[in-house]
């Protein structure tokens, strides 16, 4: 472990009152350092173990360190997954493809992911942010466990799509792009799913429902626990 990394670690330790996101971001900095050094598996856990030993008589400090360790582990896992996607898709030209895969795998694009890709591909953070906000598929906030999509393409629109959408909104108590408080359902309105002959169409996860009547919405949603 280099002197520099040690200092970063101790800095995290010192600023023990950081919020969770801040710890994550600090951790990211830390990991980027490791990455730039070409060390694949940082001996992070070892270092944390040592800190743990030191702090054993400080129960509070221990808890914090444990939490931090979990968060870091989680983060490392996420970054590994992202790395895999980046390696699979290729260089900066494939940025949109990389983001699509991340969106698909995680259900959203976290700040961490954006920072990491930016570092890996050498693309400015702002450019990635620009793309992630321009295209409709990407979400910068977590989605619900079940992804509910209501089609409001023209064919669905004239065959009662808006009423279906409205019923979903009312039943779930959320609007377009929102997630229910317990994180169960996320609702999106989409412009066309290519099933125009079956309008109005709604999709939950990957299950398509055609010719939906507003009165059937409740039954459909109740299938997803």
């Amino acid at each position: 472990m280099t002197e520099e990394q040690r200092s970063i670690l101790s800095r995290i330790q010192k600023d023990a009152n950081l919020s969770k996101t801040e710890i994550l971001l600090k951790g990211l900095e830390l990991l980027s350092e490791y990455y730039s050094l070409g060390l694949d598996t940082p001996p992070l856990s070892l270092e944390l173990k040592r800190l743990e030993g030191e702090a054993v008589h400080h129960a509070e400090a221990l808890k914090r360190i444990r939490r931090r360790e979990d968060a870091l582990k989680e983060m490392i896992r996420e970054l590994h997954d992202i790395d895999e996607i980046v390696n699979r898709c290729g260089g900066p030209n494939a940025l949109i493809q990389i983001l699509l895969d991340i969106q698909k795998q995680f259900g959203w694009i976290s700040k961490l992911a954006v920072m990491w890709i930016s570092k890996r591909l050498g693309v400015p953070f702002s450019s990635i942010y620009q793309i992630a906000t321009f295209y409709k598929v990407f979400s910068l906030t977590p989605k619900g466990r079940h992804r509910v999509r209501a089609c409001l393409g023209t064919a669905c629109h004239i065959r009662g799509g808006p009423r279906v959408m409205e019923r979903i909104e009312r039943l779930l108590g959320i609007g377009d792009g929102d997630v229910t408080p317990e994180g169960k359902f996320g609702l999106e309105r989409v412009n066309c799913l290519g099933c125009c002959a079956l309008g109005p169409v709604m999709v939950v996860n990957d299950d398509y429902y055609g010719n939906v009547k507003p009165t059937e919405v409740g039954k459909i949603l109740s299938k997803y626990g």
Partner: protein, 646 residues
């Protein structure tokens, strides 16, 4: 897997081998596995068909062994309305609306005994006559299916199926018997025009790319079918991906390109899957990649998934998206065919255009040119949706009249309602009123009446559709999809939308007509890309042909089609109400007063006009009224129940 093909002779050999291996008497059950039928439960039907076939084979009670029956998953046949669709070969018996519980009967009756299951056949809604062949169904009878024909026979995940039907024959012909210039000449002679909507002559585009300076050159497939209401590209790409690939390769050979991109929208997951599989298989066979069929021609193709932006279907925006940038259009002082992807000559064509190419090469330019009208040759696939009886994909000769399309193929308007308008070309097209129903559909005729071919969406509207509301919908859609790069489109659409919102909520003013007209003209003149310049086509055409509806909204504050919420009220007719409480239970805001024996009354103050009660009522007692002034409520009337009918 098959060996790599090293010469045209080997391709022919493989083809004859595949055909020889097939027993023409072999029973094949094909089932549609595309997105539309899947939405109606096709997956379960296919699973249970396979299960059934397996079970029978194992039991061995009947004369048919397992390997003599094949269940094949194919692409879309267009009649999505009646899915899931199953066809049993060799008799070609088409079954519609098949449920998993019907499969034992299909296997035991049709497959084993060759008998037809009458109840699963298509019955003509007027005569009740059953159709034993696809061609007997009026929906198919009037079509000419050149591109979609093979969707019924091909498993898109098997390259052998495509080869067996003559696939890649055109490519081999081009690679070994034709010079690139000859190919372009042939396409030019065929008079093929871009099917993506613009109708630009394909041959000329190819020639421009070929002659443009700069290497390498790129060829691209536009499958970013963002136009809501259209799904022909999905059906083609999903059902017969190799035909698009073959066309693309022929084009790349003619233009001297060695790399291609296929841009597919992410909303079509199955399409992405099928085209990726198709590329892999073509590569394995030596039909794609290096030294194709031993000709020395190399071609590589990449699939790029779009991420949901309507504007990215525009050529320069699409190329920006492939470069990994934000998919915004750029000014096209120099055509994309000359300076496109990475500033290199790039030829972008629509899925349907590419799929036409192998057919032209095989059958000759003359064959193609003689079909259709003088300036628009060949066939066109339309997605016929909206308020028609038979919705789905139809492929017809160019020059068919709208009336034939809607009434002969589409089977007329649903529920015996009156036809009001047809909208072609999606958000960039216009409304066509009844008086133009005898118009012959081709690129130029549609432009003449203020609409356009677009990608081929045909949306039929009946008397219950509010033209103002649909126009508002289009403007809303486009204002959301406008990338915001140029001011006329970004701000203009926003202002138009504001006017529409006012009109639809009963706050329209006299000057709105002029404002809409002025803004429309401005957008048409000053926008950067086609999204803006065509955005007001729906506005202009609806103002011309349906001015009366606007006037009703603005002056009389009523919505003739009873759609615009602020201009509609719900009213329970006391003489029809049976006091069943169903509506009051469904009301989300408890606006319905009444109990078991008293006629219900809607509290207009509380009512949010969601229409829930309207849908629930079994006695048609609830009516929509516009303008929203229901007669004063009379509460506490006792119900006089009708006797239940037997």
């Amino acid at each position: 897997m098959v060996e790599k093909i090293r010469s045209p002779a080997e391709l022919e050999k493989l083809r004859s081998e595949i055909i020889a291996r097939r027993d023409p008497k072999k029973r094949i059950i094909t089932a549609c596995a595309s997105t539309g039928c899947s939405a109606l439960g096709a997956r379960k039907v296919i699973e249970s068909l396979k299960e059934e076939v397996k079970k029978r084979g194992l039991v061995g009670q009947v004369g048919v062994k397992e390997d003599e029956v094949e269940v094949k998953e194919t692409g879309c046949l267009g009649f999505c309305e009646l899915g899931p669709r199953v066809i049993v070969y060799p008799e070609e018996v088409p079954y519609f609306r098949v449920k998993p519980e019907d499969t034992p009967e299909i296997v035991s009756e049709t497959v084993v005994k060759g008998k037809i299951v009458e109840r699963l056949l298509y019955a003509d809604p007027t005569t009740g006559e059953k159709a034993r062949k696809l061609e007997d169904i009026p929906f198919y009878k009037h079509q000419l299916r050149l591109l979609l024909k093979n969707n019924a026979l091909i498993d898109p995940k098997k390259v052998e199926d495509y080869i067996a039907l003559g696939g890649y024959g055109a490519l081999s012909k081009v690679l070994f018997q034709m010079a690139p210039e000859q190919v372009i000449e042939e396409i030019k002679k065929s008079n093929l025009r871009g099917r993506g909507g613009g109708g630009f002559p394909t041959g000329r585009k190819w020639e421009t790319t070929r002659n443009a300076p700069g290497e390498p050159k790129y060829v691209l497939v536009n499958c970013d079918e963002g136009d809501p209401g259209a799904f022909m590209d999905r059906a083609l790409m999903e059902g017969n991906p190799h035909s698009v690939l073959e066309g693309l390769m022929i084009g790349s050979y003619a233009m001297g390109a060695n790399e291609g991109f296929i841009y597919v929208r992410e909303e079509y997951p199955l399409t992405v899957e099928n085209i990726t599989t198709a590329i892999k298989q073509a590569e394995d066979c030596g039909l794609l990649g290096g030294n194709i069929m031993g000709s020395g021609f190399n071609f590589r193709v990449n699939v790029h998934r779009g991420a949901g932006a309507f504007v990215s279907g525009e050529s320069s925006a699409l190329m920006a998206a492939i470069e990994g940038e934000v998919g915004e259009p750029r000014p096209k002082y120099i055509h994309m065919a000359v300076k496109g992807l990475w500033e290199k000559p790039s030829c972008l064509n629509n899925v349907e255009t590419w799929a036409n190419v192998p057919l032209i090469i095989l059958n000759g330019a003359g064959w193609f040119r003689d079909m259709g009208t003088k300036n628009s040759s060949g066939t066109k696939i339309f997605s016929l949706v909206g308020k028609v009886n038979n919705t789905g994909l139809v492929e017809v000769l160019m020059g068919i009249t709208l009336r034939d399309l809607i009434f002969k193929i589409g089977g007329g308007i649903r529920g015996g309602k009156r036809f009001k308008a047809v909208q072609t070309g999606g958000p960039s097209g216009g409304f066509i009123p009844e008086k133009y129903l005898d118009l012959h559909i081709d690129f130029d005729e549609l432009t003449k009446v203020g609409s356009m071919m677009g990608s081929g969406g045909v949306i039929v509207m009946d008397e219950d559709t509010c033209i103002v509301d649909v126009t508002r919908y289009y403007v809303d859609f486009l204002s959301k999809e406008s990338c915001g790069k140029c001011v006329p489109c970004r701000e203009g659409l926003r202002q138009i939308l504001n006017i529409f919102k006012r009109i639809c909520s009963g706050l329209g003013e006299e000057g709105d007509f002029e404002n809409l007209e002025d803004l429309s003209e401005l957008l048409k003149e000053a926008s950067l890309c086609a999204l803006g310049t065509t955005a007001t086509n729906p506005v202009v055409t609806s103002l011309t042909h349906f001015r009366g509806e606007y006037e009703a909204h603005i002056r009389e504050k009523r919505c003739p089609a009873k759609v615009c919420r602020a201009l509609v009220a719900y009213y329970i007719q006391p003489e029809k109400c049976q006091a069943c409480m169903k509506c009051s239970r469904s009301c989300p805001v408890d606006a319905i007063i009444g109990d078991k024996d008293t006629i219900h009354v809607i509290d207009q103050e509380k009512c949010i006009r969601c229409g829930a009660c309207y849908e629930e009522c079994q006695f048609n007692a609830i009516e929509k009224i516009s303008p929203p002034t229901p007669p004063p409520p009379r509460r506490g009337i006792k119900v006089i129940r009708k006797k239940k009918r037997e």
